[in-house]
Symmetry: C2
Subunit: 277 residues, 2 copies
């Protein structure tokens, strides 16, 4: 099977940075999984003894704790600082930005709107920076706006870094028509676009697409959904072991891309495996 890689794929700036930080703190532990990739988490454990806590209650007084790219809620950060010996903040700078915007804008008496998934750790963290969290609202679509009562007629908006810009614009447009001032911060990350644009192009020219990434990772799922629009034989896998030879029957060219949390060594294993079919 012939293989073609997307022109942009895999780790974004924030993830590369967080892994490098983690590799620098042997015997530390991350607060929640550092990235949406079990294989990479295993590698950090085996090579650097970087562990993983699921709850702050597990943290012990002499621990060095690493905060992952998604960030954490403000009160959790405070609790961690009180509990552990050292807190290393590997929050992606592109996530720190919306956190600080929400803090500043709510202090200036703007109602806050976050475009994103309210259950996603990044959004929970960003939301926690509002002065009055009752006036920090989270929506996924413009229809969700109908149920919201803003405290002010001045709205500031941020977006979860991995969201689709088209839907953000729909939401922002609805806000502009109903409010005096809308302060729009484009916090959607370019890296997500670059991987998405490359996946879109590649999926148009191949017979089968393989998307490598965590099945819980929102950016990987979006990559998969974009590929499916152009190539119905698009498959989402976490590693080379999940490859099914039937996918390549009567096919000539296989496109490969990977989510922002997928390390290069896993991508290489998938490329090698697909080429053998």
């Amino acid at each position: 099977m012939k293989v073609k890689l997307a022109s942009s794929y895999g780790f974004c700036f924030g993830v590369k940075r967080a892994i490098k930080i983690a590799e620098g703190y042997k015997n530390a532990a991350t607060m929640g999984p550092l990235i949406h990739n079990q294989n990479e988490i295993d590698r950090l454990k085996n090579d650097y003894n970087v562990g993983l806590y699921e709850n702050i209650s597990e943290v012990k007084p002499k621990d060095t704790v690493i905060i992952r790219t998604h960030g954490i809620p403000k009160r959790d950060l405070k609790e961690l600082k009180q509990k552990s010996a050292k807190v290393i903040n590997a929050t992606c700078p592109f996530v720190t930005t919306p956190q600080q915007i929400v803090k500043k804008m709510s202090e200036e008496n703007y109602s806050i709107l976050i475009f994103g998934d309210e259950h996603h750790p990044e959004v929970k963290g960003v939301k926690s920076y509002g002065k009055d969290t009752d006036d920090v609202h989270v929506v996924m679509t413009k229809e969700d706006l109908e149920n919201i009562e803003f405290k002010y007629d001045k709205i500031a908006t941020v977006a979860q870094t991995t969201r689709k810009k088209e839907i953000y614009l729909e939401i922002v447009n609805a806000l502009i028509l109903k409010n005096k001032e809308v302060r729009v911060f484009n916090t959607i990350c370019d890296a997500t676009f670059e991987n998405q644009d490359a996946a879109r192009e590649l999926s148009k020219e191949v017979d089968v697409m393989v998307v490598i990434g965590g099945k819980n990772s929102s950016n990987t799922k979006q990559l998969h959904s974009i590929c499916l629009e152009n190539c119905k034989d698009s498959y989402l896998i976490e590693n080379a072991q999940e490859i099914d030879k039937n996918w390549f029957k009567d096919k000539e060219l296989c496109g490969i891309t990977a989510g922002a949390s997928t390390p290069d060594w896993i991508i290489q294993q998938v490329v090698d495996s697909v080429q053998k079919h």
Copy 2:
């Protein structure tokens, strides 16, 4: 001919207010035509001796000068205050708002974008309030953005009060995709929408539409263009004298609407005249 009036038409709040102000200052003069309607200007001259200056150079030291709804550039206001005895500001409050926004935002180091016609007096006035007028840009379409170099990556936008909201959103969306922060002030006036929405509805159900308003008035021209989308027999007139009986041949129902600068007494004359056909 049966006649049906649009559910909203004619004078907006700002024009009603300006005329009332002018009626209160006998023997004063307006700086430029108070509204886009020669007949109403004549009435103010005849009934209240309110004159009209086209240039500041015509103003004499004992004059009382009235500033019209569109507002005037900052330096002209200053010159007028130095030259004349009294300056009465009848600038529409909905135009004062974008003037003050441009002033404040440019002081806070935002690049300024105005959606509107750079030759329109309202836009010239609003633009003049920028701290650095080289960084106050005026566009009519999103394509116009291509030629603009903003000084900052934080943009504040306002719109000429009579513009179409759909085009404003197109421009704003293009800005959001290219800039970190876009501060969108919705300065488009609801009165314009209300007349437009009513004209749209009415033009769908009638055989012929008559739009009354100044042929130089941007909001009247927009009303006419909206009516033409639904009713090809839509005519723009300034007064009853321009009515052509051929328009009503084989027609049953005539819709009538009027631009924001059209006084009720002219509308009544048109209604009376159309009913006779």
